[in-house]
């Protein structure tokens, strides 16, 4: 569990190799993938259509994420999601066996895959768009204070996840599994200390919101092509 939490945090880290694409294209791409993951079941009743759409979305997401982060990091980051997906699937199957109204097993599988696809799509907002860009976007949108708070919080996620993983180990060895909920106490305190230190960092180093947002770069055509292919697949599965 502890290592799964740590690996999970890595998926929220901005990739290092994205300067060749414009901010707008990356934002559009992430938004499109989230939308596409949500409407997988829309405008069709055929299971095969859903399978085709889901497969394509997952394939694109894993390819994109792996290109920037590496396949192993991508797959590891899915461990935590997989734990919840498996728990959900088990509950559904149990209710099926015990005679309660439950979805069909194939629906359970497909909805589980959809959750993974949606999670990966949502993480693209953080993988493809840097915190400086987010700060600028929020600043332009009029959320000046939120822009700073948001970037400080996201920056500290991986370190906080590491502390969470250490706290789980320690409390489990101290009290056993029954009182694992007590892990909250040291983590809350640590968060308070961290918040105070971050306030110092902000005062000493500050943040700027003058980042230049780009609207078009030549390589954007690649991302827009992927969007078009996905759109075409949705339309094709709607009518054929």
């Amino acid at each position: 569990m502890a290592s799964a939490i740590k690996d999970f945090s890595y998926v929220f880290a901005y990739s290092k190799k994205l300067d060749e694409y414009s901010t707008l294209a990356r934002l559009m791409f992430a938004s499109f993938m989230v939308a596409a993951s949500i409407i997988v079941r829309f405008f069709t009743v055929d299971d095969l259509d859903v399978v085709v759409r889901l497969t394509l979305i997952l394939l694109i997401e894993i390819l994109i994420t792996s290109r920037f982060k590496g396949m192993s990091t991508t797959l590891k980051s899915l461990k935590l999601v997989a734990i919840f997906v498996v728990i959900g699937a088990i509950i559904h199957l149990l209710s099926y066996i015990t005679g309660w109204v439950a979805p069909r097993p194939q629906d359970v599988v497909m909805s589980s895959i959809q959750i993974v696809a949606l999670f990966l799509a949502f993480s693209l907002y953080f993988q493809l768009i840097s915190l400086s860009e987010w700060r600028r976007l929020l600043h332009v949108a009029g959320f000046k204070q939120l822009s700073t708070l948001f970037t400080f919080v996201v920056t500290q996620i991986p370190i906080s996840m590491y502390y969470a993983s250490e706290a789980f180990t320690t409390i489990r060895l101290k009290y056993g599994n029954k009182r694992i909920y007590k892990v909250v106490v040291p983590l809350v305190l640590l968060s308070m200390y961290t918040a105070r230190s971050l306030a110092e960092s902000y005062y000493l180093y500050g943040v700027h919101s003058e980042f230049k947002l780009s609207v078009f770069k030549f390589k954007d055509t690649l991302l827009y092509s992927v969007i078009l292919v996905l759109l075409a697949t949705y339309v094709f599965t709607m009518f054929v």
Binding site: V154, P158, T169, P186, E200, Y203, E210, K212
Partner: protein
């Protein structure tokens, strides 16, 4: 400002936080251009507070009360505009990871440069120059949380060069640094000297770096005392070990084996972290495992504790174990020490006797049981964690780098406490700047995934380091 104007001048400085007594009481300090100053002192003596006062966060963030005169480059701190102190004094804090505001190192540097220069072209130039001066080319495309403690500090030094400050403050820079990291830090100090930068280092692990400074001060009772000459004399003074006959650890091979690890292998992220480790722990063993950061010490302790399953090999345990992490604050869950005792006894079904015994021991050790464990110093936290662990009847205590943040005197006290408890201990360290063979039944080195017994070369003994520090303190109080 003339060429003789000190970079920093502090006269009769008093400071207290919103609640509580004065922490700094009539403190004086002068730092000249290019001068390197080391300030040592107990945990809680006010070292970090002084950094906060000098960077003005004591006032702006902590809302404390400052009295006295502080001049930076000849100008009074209270007459400077809010940006000036931040440009002239650069702080590199205890936990360098908390001083990043962007995940990618390059972006963090660029963000700061843009804040300082307010111009993209100038910012880019400043970042390039800072990277070249500190040689951090290989680090700039990494996330800050992927850096080791030493690397993170190097990046912070590069960041400091962007604003070209007159004075750099390092608050406990050796905390969490292994021996290699200490060498890196010494190289950084040399670089700062070549660049003509004034430096103040606040550190109680002073032995490995003391020779690199022009002046050494001891912070005690809220004041600074110049101990430069005294410290030099003491390091040269002959010293005979005060080891008592009971301190010498017996490596008797007939004692009962309580834990046996056979052929332990562990793979993490595709790396062979541990490769065929064999370890036999006997009752009342005091085992020291030395290894640089990232050598797999924590992984090994977690495997011995039974929390991690090794990729290959077996661990046979014949007793309960308790693991105390490096970040000791994570060990505590209750609002008072008394409740910690109650909770740990209740969890293990040890009854009221356990509670009474625990409160008695802690009382004897000088703990106020109604106090919050989170308000204790790091040294006290480790001591409390060890005592609580003992109450659980755990026979084996695994301590992950408990010496980080402890003075040499506190280290000796902790080892003395562990010895009195009569338990079995496995303790890891990443540095050997004060080592003493007599404390340990066995010393191992964990390197490249292998655990080998080793005998360090002649080092400054821990008892001598503690004695030296006490002598410095006595010299001041006399």
């Amino acid at each position: 400002m003339t060429s003789n104007t000190p970079v920093l001048e502090v006269k009769n400085l008093y400071f207290r936080y919103q609640s509580g007594d004065y922490v700094l009481r009539g403190l004086n300090l002068v730092v000249d251009k290019g001068e390197h100053v080391l300030i040592i002192g107990d945990t809680g003596s006010g070292k970090t507070t002084l950094t906060r006062v000098l960077t003005n966060t004591a006032l702006t963030i902590y809302g404390g009360r400052v009295e006295g005169l502080i001049k930076i480059m000849g100008k009074r701190l209270d007459e400077l505009n809010s940006d000036e102190p931040r440009r002239e004094i650069f702080l590199i804090g205890q936990n360098p990871y908390l001083f990043f505001v962007e995940p990618l190192v390059r972006e963090d540097l660029y963000n700061y440069a843009l804040r300082v220069h307010r111009n993209h072209e100038h910012a880019e130039k400043a970042v390039k120059k800072a990277i070249e001066s500190t040689g951090i080319h290989k680090l700039v495309d990494r996330y800050f949380y992927e850096l080791s403690g030493g690397e993170a500090r190097r990046v912070q030094v590069a960041k400091s060069l962007i604003s070209d400050p007159a004075l750099l403050l390092f608050d406990e820079p050796l905390m969490w640094l292994d021996d290699k990291g200490v060498n890196d830090f010494l190289n950084l100090l040399r670089l700062m000297r070549n660049l003509g930068k004034s430096v103040i280092v606040f550190e109680h692990r002073f032995l490995p770096i003391m020779r690199s400074f022009d002046k050494v001060y001891l912070l005690s009772n809220g004041r600074l005392h110049d101990v430069t000459e005294h410290a030099w004399r003491l390091t040269k003074k002959p010293y005979s070990l005060r080891t008592d006959p009971n301190q010498q650890r017996s490596s008797d091979e007939n004692r009962e084996v309580i834990l046996e690890a056979n052929d332990i292998h562990h793979v993490y992220n595709g790396n062979n972290v541990l490769r065929g480790i064999n370890l036999k722990i006997r009752r009342r063993d005091f085992i020291l495992i030395y290894g640089l950061n990232g050598s797999g010490k924590t992984t090994l302790l977690k495997i011995l504790a039974g929390y991690l399953k090794p990729s290959k090999g077996t661990v046979k345990k014949h007793c309960d174990t308790i693991y105390i992490p490096q970040n000791t604050i994570l060990f505590f869950t209750e609002e008072t020490i008394e409740k910690e005792v109650n909770e740990i006894c209740k969890t293990r079904n040890l009854g009221d006797n356990c509670v009474r015994e625990g409160l008695r021991i802690l009382g004897e050790l000088g703990f106020d049981v109604h106090q919050s464990p989170f308000n204790l110093s790091h040294g006290q936290m480790v001591k409390l964690a060890v005592t609580l662990a003992q109450l659980t009847r755990a026979k084996l205590i695994l301590l992950d780098e408990p010496f980080s943040g402890l003075t040499y005197v506190d280290r000796v006290k902790l080892l003395g406490h562990l010895r009195e408890l009569g338990i079995t201990v496995v303790l890891t360290v990443s540095n050997l700047d004060a080592y003493q063979e007599e404390y340990w039944t066995k010393t191992y080195r964990l390197d490249n995934g292998l655990l080998v017994e080793f005998k360090p070369d002649k080092l400054f003994s821990l008892d001598r380091a503690a004695w030296l520090y006490e002598e410095l303190k006595n010299g001041v109080s006399n």
